[in-house]
Subunit: 293 residues, 2 copies
């Protein structure tokens, strides 16, 4: 039997963990999808999710379960940019042959650039920026809502909701945006809104982002002002990423195409489309780290 | 034995519950202090805290424990402005003779004005405004951080921390304020800050408010801008309260004296000092509701 090498890429975030298994020559053999994998939230759950997703990918490839012990793995995990959680993850007893631990941002960046270096701006429920240039990593934003994550879906929804409450307090005029927020939440008073929003998390705020985007499309003044503020922030971050002279600069995430259309031309011209997925990027990094000469 | 009437006032918030027991002629007989009493957080804990504080006040007055069943009570509780939590509290089986249920804002307002009507602006860890004019209640703000609570201690600390992270991302210059925040948190990178702030609650943000106030005292530009934004918001809210023509208008809470010195003269001239405590206000409301003719 010919000695076979397998490469596994893991993209682990706060809600789900994706695994991609490739052969030595780059063939996709199997994939896996499991639960949360952010050690800053729960290290035990993250470890279980990673092993679960890896085992799924091995099974999907019709390989024996014990193949897991031969895998060359790159784990890209949310939270491990924070030293305490990186230490936690590094202490795990993992069932793989080799493991490279890095951030979810790094594997997303490698994926967006087909396994090569570059820079990315992510805007989805949260927002963050990352560059890998000459092996030097730079991270901006990604500090979590409400401290950071400006121009994210959560930020858009929060700005809309906060403005709606000020209008209902009589501190500013109601506008088509604040009316649309009330309609979306079936709310007719500040108390109705607060009762719903009392335990809101990022994803709940982000569910209101389409209301802001929809109103901005109709040139509503308040929604337009919020979008302009978000675009100004993104312009600043993308300019700073560009100053690092990455090979490529890409916007990814659920709001990427929306925001990119609202950026100044000189920034839009710098942007390239995303090439592959974060889990593809993780496989590429595993290959770079562990491929036998 | 002469028929005796007792009045109990309860001021119940998110962290503590205070009780004040008075005789018919206004003599302070006893006080009590217990834990959280916000039904929006936990209705069971709130109910226990209320009964505990009331029993303490009865014991402190050297009255028999069964006196509790003769009390005329006003409960001023956080959270009961939201109908669902008001319904929860109204369904309680309480051991008192009579109970008036109202908000913590209402009893604080009654206290600040010696048992009479008026309006208040509270700035402490959170911020909120309340007016009682001709028996009509108006509430502004108090929506909780990060949706509302502008100009609160939590808001001051959050603004400082958020600005510090942007400076550490290289998106703005560091300033004496961002340096002071890093020093306070013993932080030298964005990761150091995020690691600490990951599970911050309002009170944790509010712990940074003195850093902003201290820097503003030294005319630091960023801290001064934050204070000016907060003062502009408070001016707007206080003007709206004043438009309701309350008998008196008072600022209370840990930041009240700081903020009042930063308001325009025409607003400062409208302000009167607080007269009594929220639990005093609750007793006054109990007396108005239940005093036998």
């Amino acid at each position: 039997m010919i000695h076979q090498q397998y490469f596994l890429g893991i993209d682990g975030g706060g809600t789900k963990c994706k695994a991609r298994l490739e052969s030595l020559n780059g063939e996709l053999l199997g994939e896996g999808l499991s639960g949360p994998a952010n050690p800053a939230q729960s290290a035990d759950i993250a470890l279980n999710s990673i092993i679960d997703a890896a085992a799924q990918a091995v099974a999907a490839a019709n390989l024996p379960a014990e193949t897991i012990s031969t895998l060359h793995v790159c784990l890209g995990l949310a939270g491990v940019n924070i030293p305490a959680y990186r230490d936690l993850a590094e202490a795990w007893q993992l069932p793989f042959a080799n493991t490279l631990l890095t951030t979810d941002l790094h594997v997303a960046c490698a994926g967006a650039h087909g396994g090569q270096e570059g820079a990315i701006m992510i805007t989805g429920t949260g927002s963050s920026a990352f560059a890998c240039v000459n092996d030097v990593h730079t991270m901006m934003g990604g500090h979590g809502f409400p401290l950071g994550d400006k121009a994210s879906g959560a930020w858009l929804g929060w700005r809309a909701l906060s403005s709606t409450l000020e209008a209902m307090d009589g501190l500013s005029d109601t506008t088509p945006l604040t009316d649309a927020v009330c309609e979306q939440l079936h709310a007719s008073s500040a108390e109705d809104i607060v009762a719903q929003a009392l335990h809101y998390r990022s994803a709940d705020y982000a569910a209101l982002a389409p209301v802001v985007v929809g109103q901005a499309r109709q040139n509503e003044a308040l929604a337009t002002a919020i979008i302009q503020e978000g675009a100004a922030y993104l312009t600043m971050v993308l300019q700073r990423l560009s100053d690092l002279k990455p090979q490529r600069l890409t916007m990814i995430g659920g709001l990427a195409s929306y925001w990119s259309a609202h950026l100044p031309d000189h920034i839009q011209r710098k942007l390239s489309p995303a090439l592959c997925s974060p889990e593809y990027g993780a496989v590429a990094l595993a290959r770079q780290a562990f491929k036998e000469a």
